[in-house]
Symmetry: C2
Subunit: 140 residues, 2 copies
């Protein structure tokens, strides 16, 4: 018999709140979850896998709307494999481009950190003859 988890347990495992789990189901990101006789949700391993996938997509910056498309493709079964492949590949490209930019921005931040460190180190030395006037002190 497959172990089925309560919403509370799934919240702990996935890091999503119970609110969010119900919300995701409501908006069709998950297919309707099994219910106990009481009506309480009982999540299966497959639900957990899918949720983990969603969590990763979300963490990579994918919008809820796109994840809904993704869920729709999943519902389409094997017939949508090509589309799903294209979907993931496009996502991959977007994420990589984003990371490329991040590296660029990080270099920019590093430059500022360096300038600030130099500025602070300079304070221990005798006063320089003339301090250059700095338009923007974050940029010095």
């Amino acid at each position: 018999m497959e172990k089925e988890l309560t919403i509370q347990e799934v919240a702990q495992v996935t890091g999503l709140s119970e609110y969010t789990l119900r919300y995701y189901e409501r908006i069709g990101l998950l297919d309707p979850v099994d219910r106990a006789n009481s009506g309480h949700r009982r999540y299966r391993a497959a639900d957990l896998d899918w949720l983990q996938f969603l969590v990763y997509l979300r963490a990579m910056g994918m919008s809820i709307r796109q994840m809904q498309e993704c869920a729709e493709l999943k519902r389409g079964g094997d017939a949508t494999r090509r589309e799903r492949l294209a979907f993931l590949e496009e996502h991959r490209v977007r994420v990589q481009e984003q990371m490329r930019k991040m590296v660029e921005y990080l270099a920019y931040i590093d430059k500022k950190i360096d300038h600030l460190q130099e500025s602070l180190a300079g304070d221990d030395l005798p006063e320089p003859a003339e301090k250059p006037h700095l338009v923007n002190s974050f940029f010095s």
Copy 2:
């Protein structure tokens, strides 16, 4: 004489909308911008530099609230250099950690892409004796 730019020009240069430029000023991300006699904004080079900095921070996922703190530190002048350094270094750490995770997620996505490609390639071959039942077709 320093060239001063209109809000329209700054919007083009920074990629921010005129709405957003006014908004950023309203909430204190920019110090009040110079005005022409007409009351129209006239942005200086220093304003542009600062805006570019903000755009980068934003693109790196920093919240408006944190950028406001940052603007506050800038207003504090030299006295806040140490804090600003700490601020940037913390930001740097956060961004790096985020990128580390992204690499991890990307590897996960790549695995799914591979599986889908294999699945599609397999369609050209004669039917396998038994197809394994796949709980989650995105994960096959």
